[in-house]
Amino acid sequence: MNDMSFQTIMTPAIPKIAAAREAKIIASAVDVHYGDKQAIKNLSISIPDRAVSAFIGPSGCGKSTFLRSINRMNDTIPGCKVTGKITLDGEDIYARNLDVVELRARIGMVFQKPNPFPKTIFENVAYGPRIHGLARDKQDMERIVVESLKKAGLFEEVKDRLTQPGTGLSGGQQQRLCIARAIAVNPEVILMDEPCSALDPIATARIEELIHELKENFCIVIVTHSMQQAARVSDLTAFFHLGVLVEVGDTDVMFTKPQDKRTQDYITGRFG
């Protein structure tokens, strides 16, 4: 393949959401290798603040790999090498002197399977603020926990059992607990890696409603296998295929009039 085949198509040339919001994360010419295998090829994208960006594409297309590159989760994978540049508010996140722990407090993450700590509901949320020293005293910690649970839309359901284990909650509640845990440390960006794929439709709807509320204040990036979910929740959609970012654009246009044939074939269920 020549270099031109890596040219990402913009739909439209300047997506409306990119024009309306400041860019929070900018990736330029990012390559990711797992040993000899190249997982991401020459990827450049600008992710808007206070909006939801969805990454879609078939399995193994590199969307999760790129998501993990944003908060340097790939650092822990042996043989994984990230080159190119990714900035958060203009700051290089792969800079030598950057504190990765602090970076992950700024860029929170929610995973596919809810993974609450084997601790109480309260402790699950309090854990992050405690290790980052965000609470002045006990009352302050209580305030942070309650607020985070409220923002995650879980407080009303768990307020009488904060001292019970988080693992005793339903799947949807556990996922909202994980979101509460992620937002308790006041992040700027929330990365979600298929946050609803283990949930039933009702719990999924609750999470989607929550994502909609959270985008007022956060930059949200979601990887999803459900095209309908991407269409419902996101403002910007990025389509990945074979490690290449094929097309990026306003969700409204991407799902009605994509430019690239591969995007069209994927979203209409024709990929073979």
Binding site: M227, Q228, I267, T268, G269, F271, G272
Partner: protein, 238 residues
Amino acid sequence: MSEHIVKAYDDDLASLTTMLAQMGGLAEEQLSRSIEALSRRDTKLADRVIQADEKLDAMEVAVEEKAILTIAKRQPMARDLRVIMVAIRIASDLERIGDLAKNIAKRSHAIYDNIPRRLTKGLERMGELSQAQVKLVLDAFAATDDAKALEVWRHDEDIDALYNSIFRELLTYMMEDPRMIGACTHLLFAAKNIERIGDHATNIAENIYYLVNGEILKEQRPKKDKTSITPFSAVNND
């Protein structure tokens, strides 16, 4: 277009297209029969046209139901979604063409035997033009050929021009001989109906363009039907 991974989805979309092709064939037939009934004043044929319209109405309902079911089952995106939207709109245009044909056929009951043949000549010519337009646009749909659809869209002005001259001609006859007013009025309505059929053909053409390109045709269609702004005196002064 390549196939869907779920083959039954392809079947759903294909059956919509088949239903529309059948509807189109029937609408075409209704149109040609209605013109024939009018020009030959064949009331028996007219009755058959009137009766057959129910079938078109039922087919439109069937297309709509199939479209709604497909949306509910498949959550279509991008071009697939346009195929469905366009199917609903085209079915509605074909149903209207059927209604107009029925209306033309009805008038053969009202027109007396003694009106001169030359009066219906222009109508027949208009009928031929509109039939050709409907046929061409249905071919364009079957082939999803937007260039052909645009051809239909541009040629509508020929029908408009002919309608314009028939309008003037009939008005002249009515002024010359008031006994002709009754028959001429019916013929005028029939001409208007044919002109409307041409408009529905262009609607279908616009939908084919949308289906292929994903955007509405923005260009303004040339309009030659000036009858609605022609003052009565102007007809005499020519």
